[in-house]
Every structure is written in structure tokens, then in C-alpha cells.
């Protein structure tokens, strides 16, 4: 509709056609080689993926998709960096002349293609954009994502590796030198109390969620609605108690727990954990309740409901998503807490998963790394997944006041 003036058709520069043809040929060559050398298993998968990738870029360049250009650019930058590293760290220091020459040639070729992808004609074909900003962004994201997610990737690798492979320093740790195994998982669930720890954590988590909701929902509503300006001030005061860390309170609380006779009982955690969930939950829910128009409740009260009735029958049902946020928040905090759990509870069978794994999966000085890593991964991923779904709401709770938008 908007394209009343026909744009002149974009011409594909000849170099680009040649480049994509070369890459398509390269993809075919990789596939052919995979078939000829009869590679199987991981090798075949790896080669096929490579071939697909190269073919994809070739097609993208042909069709003038800018993302293909940026991706190729990004790969070339990585390649140059890798080759230079290899050149200076290895080839030159070990006087490997042939390898050094090869590396220099590769760097030269890559640099030439980089330069070509930025020439005026090519830029014009892709809509005038420079490839650098997106490439730098992709590089930054790749490096950070790699570093931040690496421990979890590494847990996954260790989970499925044979012990012989895991503890052989001469083996490349990034590869499966022996067939993957489920032995560690079997050990974890049959020879250790891990399943019990997961159950303990789930039980304490549910109990804490219930208590948090009972305490925080009415309090947040009262502070948001009923007490005017003082509500706001009390809300901030409650939020500040969230800043008091367990590492300050665990010593006196250990005495309190002992006096109440709750030592080594999961009830001690059920009693204490709401102190980390309630303040922040009140704060989150206050913001939530304030966004519900007062007129709705007033209308309900005209219809004969009491204030409390309106709260139960009207406000709570509309606030399901806020309440759900508090549920997830409280549950994940319970799985993350460490200080109270390690202080109050010592028997092996009653551990929370966050303490049991580091303290009780180690026998004497022997670390069963495969099982340990499996234990970490299994407990981390679901928690991380649900927390991630609701993260934006928590962040809104942290940033209230500093961001208006």
C-alpha cells in the first residue's frame, strides 16, 4: 500500500553471487566427504550441521537477507580471532612454519571477504547498513552467554560421562571419548537420599508459599487501600526489612529454633523462611493492588458485599497473576536459601536440596562429580525456568520509584 513509487530492483553484485555459489559448493563438499569417509555418530551429525549452516548462509546471501550477511561476518571475525590466537600462542612459539603459513593465508582470505562484505555495492544491495554494529552485538552476546551459561553446560557434560572418561586428564574434556552413560543418574536416585531432599524442598516450599500468601495478601491489600499515606510508609519500612540478610539473623535464630525444640526439623525452616519471602511479597502485591481501580470494589459494596467480602470475592480473583508471581517467587527463594538450612538442620535425611548436594553427596574426601553435577542440573533447571517466566515482575518490584514508565 505504501509502495506507490516502484523502487528500482536491487542488483546483486557479481562478487556476492560468486561467494554464495562457492559456499554452496563448500556445503556439498562437506556432505560428500562425510559420506565418503563413512563417518558415523557424532561425527556425522557435526558434519551435517556444518553443511546445513554453510548452505543456509549461501542461500541467505543469494536472497540478500541481511541476517545471513551479519552471521557470515560474525563467523569470519571469530575465525580471524581464532587463527591469530593459534598463530601467536602455538604455531610461532613451536616453530610450526607450515601451520603458520596456512593460518596467515586463512586470516588474509577471511579479511578479504570481510572487506568485500562492507564495500559500497554490497552495502547497497543489503540496504545501506554496515554489518559492524550487529556483528559486535552478536559477539558480545555470544561471549557473555557462553561464559554465564558455561557451568550449566559443563554440568550436563559431566552428568552423562563415564568416570573413566571424566577422570582422564589426557582426554579432551569437551568430547565424549567413551559412550555416554546414565550410571550417575542411577547412582543419584538409588544410592543417595537425593530424591528425599527434593521432596523435602518441595514440602517446605509449599508450606512457605501457603504461609506467605496468608500473611502477605491481606497485609498488602490493607496497606494499599485502607490506611492512606501511612500505608505507603509502612510498605517502605517492610520492604527495608527485606534487606536484613540471613547472615545477620542466623545466630540468634539458631538459639530461638533450639528453644522451640525445632532443631533438625524441617518445621524450623517453615517457621523462618517466610521472613525472606513476606516483606518482598507484600511490596510486590501492594503495587499490584494499587493498579486495581477502587471503583470496582465500591460497586461491589453497593451491591451489598462488605469490604472484606469484596476483597475475597472480587480483588483476589482479579489478582491471580500477582498472587502467582508471589507463589513462584517464594518457592524459588526457598530452593535458593542456604544459610538457615545449613545452620538449623544436620541429619542427612532431612536436608534441603541446596545443602544436601554440596554437603552430603561427598563421601569423606571423595567427590562423585558425575552424580554431583547431575544433582545440580536437575534441581536448577526447573527452578530457573519458572523464575525466568516471572522475572520481569520481580524486577518491577526492585525498581519501583527509580523507573517511571
Amino acid at each position: 500500500m505504501t509502495n506507490n513509487i516502484p523502487l528500482p530492483p536491487v542488483k546483486r553484485p557479481l562478487g556476492l553471487t560468486i561467494l554464495s555459489a562457492l559456499m554452496a559448493a563448500g556445503a556439498a563438499a562437506i556432505l560428500l566427504r562425510a559420506v565418503i569417509v563413512h563417518s558415523a555418530g557424532l561425527g556425522l551429525v557435526f558434519r551435517s550441521v556444518c553443511a546445513l549452516l554453510v548452505a543456509g548462509i549461501a542461500l541467505g546471501l543469494w536472497k540478500l537477507w541481511n541476517s545471513a550477511r551479519v552471521f557470515l561476518f560474525f563467523l569470519l571475525v571469530l575465525e580471524i580471532a581464532g587463527c591469530l590466537l593459534a598463530l601467536f600462542l602455538y604455531a610461532l612459539r613451536q616453530s610450526q612454519t607450515r601451520l603458520a603459513i596456512e593460518l596467515v593465508v586463512i586470516v588474509g582470505l577471511s579479511a578479504f571477504v570481510l572487506w568485500f562484505l562492507q564495500t559500497l555495492d554490497v552495502r547497497h544491495a543489503f540496504g545501506e547498513a554496515s554489518a559492524w554494529p550487529n556483528t559486535v552485538k552478536a559477539l558480545v552476546l555470544t561471549i557473555f552467554t557462553g561464559l554465564l551459561a558455561f557451568p550449566f553446560f559443563w554440568m550436563a557434560v559431566a552428568t552423562f560421562k563415564e568416570n573413566l572418561d571424566l577422570y582422564a586428564t589426557e582426554n579432551n574434556p569437551f568430547l565424549f571419548n567413551l559412550e555416554p552413560t546414565l550410571e550417575h543418574l542411577r547412582y543419584l536416585f538409588t544410592q543417595t537420599e537425593y530424591a528425599q531432599w527434593l521432596l523435602n524442598t518441595a514440602w517446605v516450599g509449599l508450606a512457605v508459599v501457603a504461609i506467605t500468601l496468608l500473611l502477605a495478601v491481606p497485609a498488602a491489600y490493607a496497606l494499599a487501600r485502607l490506611t492512606g499515606r501511612w500505608g505507603e510508609r509502612l510498605g517502605i519500612a517492610i520492604f527495608l526489612t527485606y534487606l536484613v540478610p540471613p547472615t545477620l539473623l542466623f545466630i540468634p535464630l539458631s538459639r530461638v529454633v533450639a528453644i522451640l525444640g525445632l532443631q533438625d526439623s524441617l518445621w524450623s525452616l517453615v517457621l523462618v523462611y517466610p521472613s525472606i519471602t513476606v516483606p518482598f511479597s507484600i511490596w510486590l502485591l501492594m503495587g499490584f493492588f494499587k493498579s486495581i481501580p477502587k471503583e470496582l470494589e465500591d460497586a461491589a459494596m453497593v451491591d451489598g458485599l462488605t469490604r472484606f467480602g469484596a476483597f475475597i470475592k472480587l480483588v483476589i480473583p482479579i489478582s491471580t497473576s500477582g498472587i502467582l508471581t508471589v507463589v513462584i517467587f517464594s518457592f524459588t527463594l526457598v530452593t535458593q536459601e542456604f544459610v538457615y538450612a545449613v545452620t538449623f538442620i544436620s541429619p542427612k535425611a532431612k536436608q534441603m536440596v541446596g545443602v544436601g548436594v554440596p554437603n552430603f553427596l561427598v563421601l569423606g574426601d571423595v567427590y562423585y562429580w558425575g552424580a554431583l553435577m547431575a544433582a545440580c542440573l536437575i534441581a536448577s533447571l526447573p527452578v530457573a525456568f519458572f523464575y525466568n517466566l516471572f522475572l520481569d515482575r520481580f524486577i518491577a518490584g526492585f525498581t519501583v520509584g527509580a523507573v517511571k514508565g
Binding site: L89, R93, M155, T169, A219, Y221, R255, V302, K404
Partner: protein, 304 residues
């Protein structure tokens, strides 16, 4: 009609103080009992001779403080707590700002990238830290393997990541950074999206490049949100004991001991509740300072 609702609303408000009080008092009571009371007890214990296994309590004045201040372990812990917090916060702020810029505009696969970046923050700390313990293992460390493979270190003279004081301290700082970068990134991201789009656009039309827009427009406008990320980051690092406890247990030779982990070692492991409480009371000045700064920010936001 409008008048009628107004009247009813005011009637409701006039009737409700008792109900309001009944609704928020359980939570307040709980907070006072489980946060307020232990807080006072912590300070009180610091001036007493409380020990695990004995119910007697005597007031001993500044005795605990006198003895811990002279202990070299305590001095090292205090120094480490400050150094670890400042070093990690500097690294976190730089990296989180870079990441927030890279993540700001939507692109395909952003959801997945965000999930992967957030993993260190959203997964349980103690479990993520064990992952690092394996990565930094003295024999099977993957970092060592890569360094040997690159011929940067000799196979029989590999670094002991958690066994040498300097390397252990660096490792603790980096694990703290690893854990806090995701948190600060999402906070800064929330701040960036709140900047009115017209301002950077106008600057771009006036010929301001990427660096000028970043340093002269975006960063100054994000000051309050950077402060929020910094204050929470400081609290989370300064009061954390999990990373140190799992990674090094304070060793080698107390070189990575921090105030919280030292408080645990003396108060719980060493059964000397009073000394442990005295150590943890040293966290209070920092907490008070941060609470004050936050209140000031909240006040400013209210005024604006």
C-alpha cells in the same frame, strides 16, 4: 451517581481502620518476631557470652569485640568483604551495562539468550557454585586443560585455582560477578526501556554517535536505576556466605574468609554464638547506609 460512589467510598474508608489493622497486623507481628527480635538479639548477643549448649547469658561489655578485632582472621575477613564487594561490583556494572545495550533491541532468539544469561541468577546459588568447584578443580579443571592445550602452562605445574590465596580470591570475586551480572543486566534493561525514545533519536539526528549517546545521554539518564542495581548488588555480595562457604570454606589460610563466612565459622561451627554475633554485627553499618540511600531515592522519586 458520582456523588453517591464518593460518599460510599468515604464511608467505607471511615469504617475500615479496624479491618485494615486486622489484615496487616499478622504480617507485621510476624516480621517483628522473626526479623526484628532476632536483629535485637544479634546485637545483644554481641555483648554477651552466649555459647551453643549452655543457656546462661552474662553481659560482658565490649569483651567480644576486643577479642575479635585483635584476631588476624577477623581483620582478613573484614578486608576481604570490602575488597570482594567493591571489585565484583565494578566488574558487574561494566559488564551489565554492555550486556544491557546488546540485549536492548529485540531480535530472533532473544528469549532463549535471555534465559541462558539469567541462569546464574535464577538457579540456586549453592548448586551453581558447585558447578564452579568442578570447573576450578585442582586436577580435572577444564580451564587448566585448555591452558595446557594452548601451551600456556606446563602439564605438571598447573595452577591450583582454589588452593593459592591470590587465585582463590580472584575465583571468589569472579563467581560473585558471574552470579550478579544477570541480575544487574535485567535491572539496567528495565531502566533502558524506560528512557523516552525521542531523546536518543533527537541526539542521533543532531549527529551524536554511539559513544556520545551512550555516555552523555543514556548513562546519565539511567543514574537512578544504576544506583538500584548497585545497592542491591552490594547487599547481595557483602552479606553472602554461600559462595565462599562452598568454594573454599574461607581457605586457604583464611585468605578468602568474609564477614558472613567467618561469623558462621565462629558462631555455629565453633559454637561461640557471642563472637559470631559480634562478627555479623559488623554488617550492620553497611546495611544502614544502603537503607538510607534507598530511602533517599524513594523520597526523591516521590517528590518528582
Amino acid at each position: 451517581m458520582a456523588v453517591a460512589t464518593g460518599k460510599i467510598k468515604s464511608m467505607g474508608a471511615a469504617k475500615s481502620p479496624l479491618l485494615g489493622f486486622a489484615m496487616f497486623s499478622p504480617a507485621i507481628l510476624y516480621i517483628v518476631l522473626v526479623i526484628g527480635l532476632p536483629f535485637v538479639m544479634a546485637v545483644f548477643y554481641a555483648f554477651s557470652d552466649a555459647r551453643i549448649g549452655s543457656n546462661e547469658l552474662h553481659f560482658v561489655g565490649l569483651e567480644n569485640f576486643r577479642s575479635i578485632i585483635q584476631s588476624p582472621s577477623f581483620q582478613k575477613s573484614l578486608q576481604n568483604s570490602i575488597v570482594f564487594t567493591i571489585a565484583s561490583q565494578i566488574i558487574v556494572m561494566v559488564c551489565a551495562n554492555i550486556l544491557a545495550i546488546a540485549l536492548e533491541k529485540p531480535f530472533r532468539g532473544r528469549g532463549l539468550v535471555r534465559f541462558l544469561i539469567l541462569l546464574p541468577w535464577v538457579a540456586p546459588v549453592s548448586l551453581g557454585t558447585i558447578g564452579w568447584k568442578w570447573i576450578l578443580d585442582s586436577i580435572y579443571s577444564v580451564i587448566t586443560w585448555v591452558l595446557v592445550w594452548l601451551h600456556l602452562v606446563k602439564p605438571f605445574d598447573t595452577p591450583m585455582w582454589l588452593g593459592e590465596p591470590r587465585l582463590a580470591m580472584t575465583s571468589v570475586v569472579l563467581v560473585h560477578c558471574w552470579r550478579l551480572i544477570p541480575f544487574s543486566t535485567v535491572i539496567l534493561l528495565a531502566g533502558r526501556t524506560a528512557i523516552p525514545k525521542e531523546i536518543p533519536e533527537a541526539a542521533a539526528i543532531d549527529g551524536a554517535g554511539f559513544w556520545r549517546t551512550t555516555f552523555q545521554i543514556n548513562l546519565p539518564m539511567m543514574k537512578p536505576i544504576i544506583a538500584v542495581a548497585l545497592l542491591f548488588g552490594t547487599i547481595f555480595t557483602f552479606t553472602d556466605m554461600t559462595v565462599v562457604y562452598i568454594l573454599t570454606a574461607g581457605g586457604p589460610f583464611d585468605s578468602t574468609q568474609t564477614l558472613p563466612s567467618f561469623a558462621f565459622a565462629t558462631g555455629i561451627t565453633g559454637s561461640d554464638l557471642a563472637a559470631g554475633a559480634a562478627v555479623s554485627v559488623f554488617l550492620v553499618p553497611v546495611l544502614v547506609l544502603i537503607a538510607y540511600l534507598m530511602l533517599r531515592m524513594a523520597h526523591r522519586a516521590e517528590m518528582a
